[in-house]
């Protein structure tokens, strides 16, 4: 079956080379295209394909002919499957019991050195000499003590599917592909919470969906939802599967047949409107495809959540996602212009795409953050921007975290935050240091040593207190340089020293590989997780200190034998506050039920966050993991409002994942 990632778009007469120009000026933070010839080859192939489409569309001059469903397209052409990042059988390229691509993982080689496999990332194929010492030192872990995962899924681990025959029969007649293969079902039964992955690694599987359907377009979804409503089948929408809120777990008490609705095949950009700078997409498209395809014609959305390699547009909408570069482009709620969602009551959408309306409460805000409880987001119109001419990374070292936070606050006060500005605490700074790949030249290591000497000895920074902010500037070259100077000047007032582009860039690269690192830890009795919150500025330091301390104390109290890693970073700045990410991991040797201990500690940490004026979530969402705190978060009346919307839209609880309420 030939499914094109990019169907005919609005007549765009940009030539391929011009796309190329932008692409090369960008130091990609995902894959580092310049360093991998393999990636270049793939990209060039894609470009050829896309260029071909562009020419054809220009000839036919067919504007906005997108809504037609792919399901009817002939299955005969299956040539360019590599342009589609997410196949129906995800397990073919992705781990079934860990993060990301199967070919990419950390391991300790025979010499005991850490390396990262595969070819996809900048770090791929490199040795990371400092990781072992850091890992053993931080966690008290030992390479001799392994806790390997169950290699393959035992098909007996799952119950046979509980199929609703009438539903299946009628579904067959629609031609929408579906499966009740065990691997397909297990893959969609979880997100990436620690307890979910831990269970999979032990080969344990709870309630899984009874069936997976792959709609190809909006109309397919309409049919599926109609049938589900008719036959009282429970639907759980599934986008990228990167949830960290237990939002994809099948409610164990659900007795109806559960159907996972996988949106991955609804992945087309349906049209681009250059006059209004908007693009209309199917909601199953994942972040990296969307960005890459738009980049190829000189645009971007600028929406880059850390999960963008795998998370989908529909998922972003359903969870109120936030992107790294929101300072320029905005969060998902700022980016979305129009949403189409299929509910058991029918399709909900606005009648126009005016940029702002005063028409009562914004119905988009019932959909944004609804976490799959109301329906399936099928199509979204989003703002796009011309790709930035120039990108520059940067970093600043501060003598301590307090100064760093004060600097970020000042940057926010002056509203001059770069596309991204993040402040890591001392522990994360050390962690980042441990992840430095092997340097090839003597000179580089000499320079590094000199830098270290300068900062710690000459400037008197205490290596156990200093922390680092990473920066990403985007825009016109001239403006970027000007902007950069402004930010560095502010930093200097808070004792900050510019620490180079490399440190900054590596910081952002780590964002994408850090999730892989958890799998490595789990091979050696180390479990961990990250969680986030948002908090007013005046609370930032207090909440960071208290939550980190709470984690350490709780671990001790719950019998964890080794001191945990408890660290945080400020990842977003706002006018009135900041987003804070906590990372927490510990060596669980000696514990009989590590996951339970882990959950107790995370629970305590969340209580601490709320007690310190932090929000329940900045962008991960509530899912079922954080439901218990919803009432105190939004008040009883607020709960009632949400509940009455749910009752109207989905009285039979077809969308029965039980998230949020």
């Amino acid at each position: 079956m030939r499914r094109l990632p990019l169907t005919p778009v609005t007549a765009s007469h940009r030539s391929a080379p011009s796309i190329h120009k932008h692409g090369s000026s960008m130091a990609s933070n995902i894959s580092g295209s310049s360093s991998s010839s393999d990636r270049q080859r793939v990209a060039q192939h894609r470009l050829r394909v896309i260029a071909g489409h562009l020419q054809r569309s220009a000839e036919s001059d067919s504007v906005i002919q997108a809504a037609e469903c792919k399901a009817s397209v002939s299955e005969s052409v299956a040539a360019d499957s590599e342009t589609r990042t997410v196949p129906r059988r995800r397990q073919e390229i992705m781990k079934w019991n860990g993060w990301g691509y199967s070919d990419s993982r950390f391991l300790f080689n025979k010499k005991g050195q850490a390396e990262f496999t595969g070819k996809r990332y900048r770090l791929s194929g490199l040795i990371i000499p400092g990781l072992k010492d850091w890992f053993e030192g931080t966690f008290g872990a030992n390479l001799q003590h392994k806790s390997p995962a169950t290699p393959i899924l035992n098909s007996n681990a799952t119950h046979p599917p509980n199929l609703n025959k009438a539903f299946v029969e009628e579904l067959k007649s629609t031609g929408v592909p579906f499966s009740h293969d065990t691997e397909d079902r297990v893959f969609r039964a979880h997100g990436h919470c620690l307890h979910e992955i831990f269970a999979l690694r032990e080969g344990k599987v709870g309630r899984v969906p009874d069936m997976v359907v792959w709609p190809n377009c909006h109309n397919d979804v309409v049919k599926i939802v109609e049938l589900a409503t008719k036959h009282d089948v429970c639907l759980i929408p599934y986008g990228g599967g990167t949830s960290v809120s237990s939002a994809l777990e099948c409610p164990p008490e659900e007795t109806r047949s559960i159907v996972s609705l996988d949106t991955s095949q609804m992945n087309r950009i349906l049209w681009i409107d250059e006059k209004n700078l908007t693009a209309h997409m199917e909601a199953g498209i994942i972040g990296q495809d969307l960005e890459r395809l738009l980049n190829e014609i000189g645009y971007c959305t600028g929406h880059e959540p850390d999960s963008m390699e795998f998370s989908s547009l529909g998922g972003w909408v359903a969870t109120r996602a936030s992107g790294m570069k929101k300072n320029i482009y905005g969060n998902i709620e700022d980016l979305v212009v129009h949403i189409k969602m299929v509910t058991p009551q029918g399709v909900i959408e606005k009648g126009c795409v005016g940029p702002r309306m005063s028409t009562g409460p914004d119905i988009h805000h019932f959909i944004l953050g609804s976490e799959g409880t109301l329906g399936v987001v099928t199509e979204v119109t989003m703002k796009i921007r011309p790709m930035p001419e120039y990108q520059k990374y940067g970093s600043v070292v501060f003598p301590n975290f307090e100064q760093g936070v004060a600097c970020l606050r000042e940057v926010a006060r002056q509203r001059c935050a770069p596309a991204s500005i993040r402040l890591m605490d001392n522990e994360q700074f050390k962690f980042g240091h441990a992840l430095k790949p092997q340097v090839s030249s003597l000179f580089t290591s000499f320079v590094d040593g000199l830098k270290k000497f300068y900062i710690t000895k000459f400037k008197g920074f205490d290596p156990n207190h200093l922390c680092v902010a990473t920066l990403l500037f985007e825009g016109d070259r001239e403006k970027v340089l000007q902007h950069e100077k402004q930010v560095y000047d502010i930093a200097a007032k808070f004792g900050g020293l510019a620490a180079g582009e490399d440190n900054g860039q590596r910081g952002y690269m780590l964002t994408f590989v850090i999730a892989y690192l958890r799998d490595l830890g789990m091979d050696y009795y180390v479990i961990g997780e990250s969680f986030e919150t948002s908090v007013p500025w005046d609370r930032v330091l207090d909440i960071c200190r208290n939550v980190k301390a709470r984690i350490i104390h709780e671990c001790k109290e719950k019998g964890v034998q080794f001191p945990p890693l408890s660290t945080c970073r400020v990842t977003q700045t706002y006018d009135a506050g900041a987003c804070i990410y906590f990372y927490f991991a510990f060596n669980y040797r000696g514990l009989s039920d590590p996951v339970h201990v882990y959950e107790q500690v995370e629970h305590a940490a969340r209580e601490e966050i709320l007690a310190n004026g932090g929000s329940l979530s900045h962008h991960h969402g509530v899912g079922t993991l954080r439901k218990e705190w919803m009432r105190e978060t939004i008040s009883s009346v607020g709960m009632g409002m949400l509940k009455s919307v749910k009752d109207f839209v989905d009285p039979k609880n077809i969308f029965g994942n039980r998230n949020l309420l």
Binding site: D538, A549, L610, A611, N612, G613
Partner: protein, 670 residues
């Protein structure tokens, strides 16, 4: 809620060994000791700052700036002027800790302590716990307060053990002493006015100053929960003001935790002993002055026995308030804007305050003389009633003391009774330490009351002179009241209700507990728990057999019960007299009388009652007892303070007074 753990803790605590820190001082150079290197462990998140930097931090802080602006708006005064006033307040208040002054004190106090005391015993395990705690979280030291020496002693000990020196909240009265005030300031004291309830600016400066010290981890903060020195050796009900100030940073999330550390300082003989008795009898306390201090040199020639200083278990405010306090109540407003804490916090703070004072009490070390004074007082009053010759044979006193020793140990007292020495020797040597209070003649021991009336003195003067001795002895008896107060309340409740039915005893018990709320440390709301714990203790002492609905007094129980109820008898009778007086006042002078009138009036009335033989307890002359009784009467609604008048006026509620009379009166019928 806290008691079970507290009980368990106090059991643990007793295992701590005491070390005499004076021993080394007697064997090595004081000068070298005063000049040795001093490198205490520090709070892990300490922000080093000088005393002046601290002042700047306080003056520039958001909370203070907010109040300065507020005061300026309300009063119409320019901000600069208010700011200057705040600065002046801070200048008057702030400490100026200097190591050189501390070293000076280390030297001189070594000399003084060696002259005054035989030993200063410190539990070193407690010091270790403190040193640990100091590094983890801000620490608040809460010593008991019986003497001016307390805080000098605390700093002296902490210096000795290389532990961070505290900054100490001291009353302004010290400031009146030239030189000394400044010396104390340089040794870490900061000065607060006695009352500043309505002064918003003062409060803001004060609380911000204390909280800055705390949050920056500058030094442990030390203050006296009891607010002032107890003149009676009985713990005073905790004052919540400063406690609230040091806890607020935790409730507002500004620190991870606050560690509270109760310290029990037990003096075998208090320096101010006779001074206190006179003060309680209405001779105003001499104003602190430097020359007064030199006159006090006389005290240097006497023997004051030993001191025991017990550093208790650190109390984590976080742990204690977990699940009981919603810290999120401060989420919706900027935290620098003053906001009253919710009921949940108030409740926890009150309970905590009582628990801490109880912790102090539990670790007070009692010396044998405490038992002897108790027995001699009881003997004195019995002989007054029966007309027998006062006093006891040494052997009888020793026997009774041994009985009381065992009973008090059974009830959990920390008794410093040298078991390895013959009891008679213990008794006579501890009697010898108090020649002004007891006399031994012809093998009989009795209170050293002034003998036959001299022609020159009036009966009132004689009574006054005797009362000085009685009150001094009472201050020893009072040291052990906390051990017995629970069971004693039950014993008295049994007398009042003259019933063996548990529910009736419980009613009377609850009434007494309520009435004595200001007299003893009784945790608010802990009535039922206290009652059942007291029943347990009485059963353990074989004084009572407790059944599901009633109790029985076994033959051997009468002695214990009568001892216990006679412990509270002076208080019961004292309260009764106060209340009788209140009634007669309202009959003669109408329903209202002024506060200022009431006190001298009541004293005259009590003197009359004692001289007429209607009241045998001259300790009722104690202004402390009168104050507490008045507070109880007003608490129970028998009198009412009328606000708004210049002098606090009291209004007597006849109905309530009569009811009290009836309830208490039954006692005599029994």
């Amino acid at each position: 809620m806290f008691s079970p753990t507290q009980h368990g803790e106090s059991m643990l605590k007793k295992k701590d060994e005491f070390e005499d820190i004076l021993e080394e001082r007697r064997n090595s150079s004081d000068l070298r000791y005063a000049l040795r290197s001093y490198t205490p462990p520090l709070y892990k998140e300490v922000t080093p700052a000088t005393a002046n930097e601290l002042k700047d931090m306080v003056l520039q802080s958001d909370p203070l700036c907010f109040v300065v602006r507020q005061v300026s708006t309300e009063s119409g005064r320019p901000v600069d002027e208010v700011q200057a006033e705040a600065s002046a307040i801070l200048e008057e208040m702030a400490h100026g800790l200097q190591l050189s002054t501390v070293r000076f004190f280390a030297f001189t106090l070594s000399k003084v302590f060696k002259t005054l005391f035989r030993s200063i015993h410190v539990n070193e395990d407690g010091i270790q716990r403190l040193q640990q705690a100091v590094q983890e979280n801000p620490v608040v030291l809460l010593p008991s307060h019986r003497s001016y020496l307390d805080f000098l002693l605390m700093s002296y000990i902490l210096y000795t053990y290389d532990t961070p020196l505290p900054v100490i909240a001291a009353g302004m009265d010290f400031m009146g002493m030239k030189m000394v005030g400044e010396m104390l300031r340089k040794s870490g004291a900061f000065f607060i006015r006695r009352s500043f309830g309505g002064d918003k600016l003062y409060w803001a400066v004060f609380s911000e100053y204390v909280q800055t010290l705390l949050k920056k981890g500058y030094a442990p903060i030390e203050f006296f929960l009891e607010g002032t020195r107890s003149r009676t050796s009985k713990s005073l009900t905790p004052k919540l003001g400063l406690l609230n100030v040091v806890l607020e940073p935790f409730f507002k999330g500004e620190v991870y935790d606050v560690t509270l550390l109760p310290v029990s300082i037990s003096y075998e003989r208090i320096l101010e002993e006779s001074l206190y008795a006179r003060e309680l009898l209405g001779v105003p306390k001499p104003k602190e002055s430097t020359s007064g201090l030199f006159k006090a040199r006389k005290v240097l020639s006497e023997d004051y026995g030993s001191i025991h200083v017990y550093f208790g278990q650190p109390v984590s405010v976080r742990k204690l308030s977990e699940g009981r306090v919603k810290r999120s109540q401060f989420n919706l407003m900027p935290r620098h804007i003053p906001k009253r804490p919710g009921e949940d916090i108030n409740k926890v703070v009150i309970e905590l305050a009582y628990q801490l004072v109880q912790n102090q009490q539990a670790n007070m070390v009692l010396n044998p003389f405490v038992l002897l004074a108790t027995l001699l007082l009881q003997n004195h009053h019995q002989s007054l009633a029966s007309g027998q010759k006062p006093g006891m044979k040494l052997q009888e006193l020793t026997d009774r003391a041994l009985w009381l020793r065992d009973l008090s140990r059974l009830f959990g007292a920390c008794l410093q009774w040298p078991d390895d020495r013959p009891p008679a020797e213990v008794v006579s040597s501890s009697l010898r330490l108090h020649p002004g209070l007891v006399t031994i003649s012809e093998g009989r021991v009795q209170l050293a009351l002034p003998g036959e009336p001299h022609g020159a003195s009036s009966p009132e003067e004689e009574l006054f002179n005797q009362a000085v001795i009685i009150l001094s002895c009472v201050s020893y008896r009072n040291q052990m009241l906390h051990v017995f107060v629970g069971p004693a309340l039950v014993a008295s409740a049994m007398n009042i209700s003259s019933s063996t039915q548990k529910n009736e005893i419980a009613n009377s018990h609850s009434f007494l507990r309520n009435m004595f709320f200001h007299e003893f440390i009784l945790c608010p709301g802990g009535t039922n728990q206290d009652l059942s714990m007291s029943f347990d203790l009485l059963e353990k002492a074989r004084a009572l057999d407790v059944f599901s609905h009633h109790v029985l007094v076994p033959e051997e129980g009468h002695r214990t019960l009568s001892f216990l109820s006679s412990l509270l008898d002076p208080f019961l009778q004292g309260y009764q007299v106060m209340e009788t007086h209140g009634r007669s006042c309202c009959e003669s002078k109408g329903d209202t009388l002024t506060d200022k009138q009431f006190v001298p009036d009541v004293r005259k009335f009590i003197v009359k009652q004692i001289l007429a033989g209607r009241l045998k307890y001259s300790e009722v002359l104690s202004s402390d007892l009168q104050k507490n009784a008045l507070a109880a009467l007003s608490r129970l609604g028998a009198v009412q303070k009328i606000k708004g008048s210049v002098l606090g006026n009291l209004k007597v509620n006849k109905v309530m007074v009569n009811w009290l009379e009836d309830t208490l009166g039954e006692k005599e019928a029994a």
